[in-house]
Symmetry: C2
Subunit: 341 residues, 2 copies
């Protein structure tokens, strides 16, 4: 905290992207010596026109020159790159981490916020904000969003704000009661999210520890059946990721179940399922709502989790292979990459 760049990331988030873009362009030009617009556009993954706008500015700033054989960096441009070097790492580190995780697991997008949610409540809040921003970015009118429980999900809910984007959105709990504290249950979170954004919600009240008969008769109830059907067709699923044993304890599962989880190598928990380190499901808590086959069909699965201690668990869930967007923090991201090598 406290460096100018950190402050600017808060005050001017969009300009940091511009800064990266211009730096990248100038850097490429320096490396290539003399290079043409079309060639350069291809190598920095921009359209020719967008590159051109940026190049015009850089030229006007005297950072590069052009002649009929292409663009080349000016002395002022070289000095600028040199001076910028110590800051650039800070600017790019996270996006670099994100790209490595993204490509390794074949995700659509990976967002990494600075810090470690384990130590810092600020980083945890930042994670919530990033999760909220990611959700806001992908939501479409009249979407159905299934949300899981957990403290991270609660953090996202707290960072959501009312917006026209959420007009008519339905927030539904991904699964029934899973034995957590009431404010961390999916039901509460769905309701909070709906209230904060101006969307709508419905609750899925399935008490814990039901007898098999009671359970069977409950899920035959027409209104519950109907709600479950809607949940299973959610376009977006948002969920946290937990350590398997921590979650089992928090949910007061039977000792026998915990033993079997341990034996089967359960590492991670997400939306009520337990995963081992290969990403295979080793156990699931019997309740109603989203099933694994629904997750496989879901258009957008957004996982949000941070903290160094969660790295292994996140990696396990990513190996499961049905995540689309991951929102995490720096510490967890580093840990994830450690587990890969």
């Amino acid at each position: 905290m406290g460096s100018l760049l950190e402050l600017q990331k808060q005050l001017l988030p969009e300009l940091m992207d511009v800064m990266k873009k211009r730096y990248t362009i100038l850097h490429h030009i320096k490396l290539n010596g003399t290079v043409g617009r079309r060639t350069l556009a291809h190598s920095v993954h921009m359209t020719e026109r967008m590159l051109r706008s940026e190049v015009d500015i850089l030229k006007q700033q005297g950072l590069l020159d052009t002649n009929s054989s292409g663009m080349h960096i000016s002395i002022a441009g070289e000095e600028l790159l040199e001076g910028l070097e110590p800051y650039i790492r800070e600017l790019f580190d996270l996006t670099d981490l994100a790209e490595r995780i993204r490509s390794h697991f074949g995700l659509k997008e990976v967002i990494i916020v600075p810090g470690n949610s384990d130590d810092s409540i600020l980083a945890k809040k930042e994670l919530g904000r990033a999760g909220a921003a990611a959700l806001r970015k992908v939501v479409q009118p009249n979407d159905v969003i299934a949300v899981a429980g957990g403290s991270t999900m609660a953090g996202i809910a707290d960072s959501l704000i009312a917006s026209a984007a959420f007009r008519g959105t339905w927030f539904l709990p991904a699964r029934g009661g899973l034995g957590e504290h009431v404010e961390l249950q999916a039901n509460s979170i769905a309701s909070t999210m709906a209230k904060r954004t101006g969307g709508q919600y419905r609750l899925l009240h399935v008490p814990d520890h039901l007898s098999e008969e009671a359970y069977q008769s409950l899920i035959q109830e027409p209104n519950i059946r109907e709600l479950i059907a809607i949940i299973r067709k959610a376009r977006i699923v948002v969920h946290g990721i937990g350590d398997a044993m921590v979650m089992a304890t928090r949910r007061n599962v039977d000792v026998s179940v915990k033993d079997s989880l341990a034996q089967e190598g359960a590492l991670a928990e997400a939306f009520g399922y337990y995963f081992d380190n290969s990403g295979s499901v080793v156990h699931n808590i019997p309740t109603v709502g989203l099933r694994l086959e629904d997750i496989r069909e879901t258009e957008l699965v957004i996982g949000v989790a941070g903290g160094r201690s969660k790295g292994e668990a996140i990696a396990a869930v990513l190996r499961f292979g049905h995540e689309d967007i991951l929102v995490t923090d720096e510490a967890a991201a580093e840990q994830i990459l450690n587990y890969l090598s």
Copy 2:
């Protein structure tokens, strides 16, 4: 040189403005405690809608909160302002200087670049670039621009670049030969500017040290008369400002003239006229082109000059009272303000 802000000014010129704007908004909100959009818009001199866009971003960044009684700063916002404090001075100093000069002399705009052109060739180049940018900003299609001579004007010419904005622009020398080196004469500069921007130019060849008869017959020449008529109707005049004695020496004026200049308290020189410290004209070099009465009629007079040593001269010309835009550097600006108090 080398501070991150200095580097960012080069790479992201627009960053400074956005940063100032958002800082100002947040700062005002902090000072007011809770304040409404309209009230705030008025006190930071923005339209309500523009303010709203900025506020939405700040809100999304968690730097301020809103409720039905107005906006107030969040804890994160307060921390940000605190962290930003050491940088803000660097950010605002120059604009603050500029505003004081602008309002004191009733100018349209004052642009100040960092540094001192007397010591640093880099500052001099920066002055040229700023002058070119200022010109580019105000030029309109088919404009007639009268340009004076001098090294600063040459610096502007070197920083101009081709642009559709200069399509059809005419660059003309403000006055005939004034005894300087050829590359610093208005004629050369007009031609350079035209060539670099893609505009057009015409030259006014009036040899120095003509006899009165030759002079009279020369200015009766039809093509010269016509050109002079165009020059006198220029919408824009761009000129440097020099120290009176330095300019007199450089132009090899007679010793008798220099003596009378000294006696009359000549301090500054601009477009061939000499000014004393009250801004009155005490002498002018006999050549053809723009006259004082033309300057008074000109829509936009742009003065460009920098360096601590020029402060007094600039102040004198500003007192003359017909400048619209001043482009100078930090050292000269400080000096100008010294002369006011």
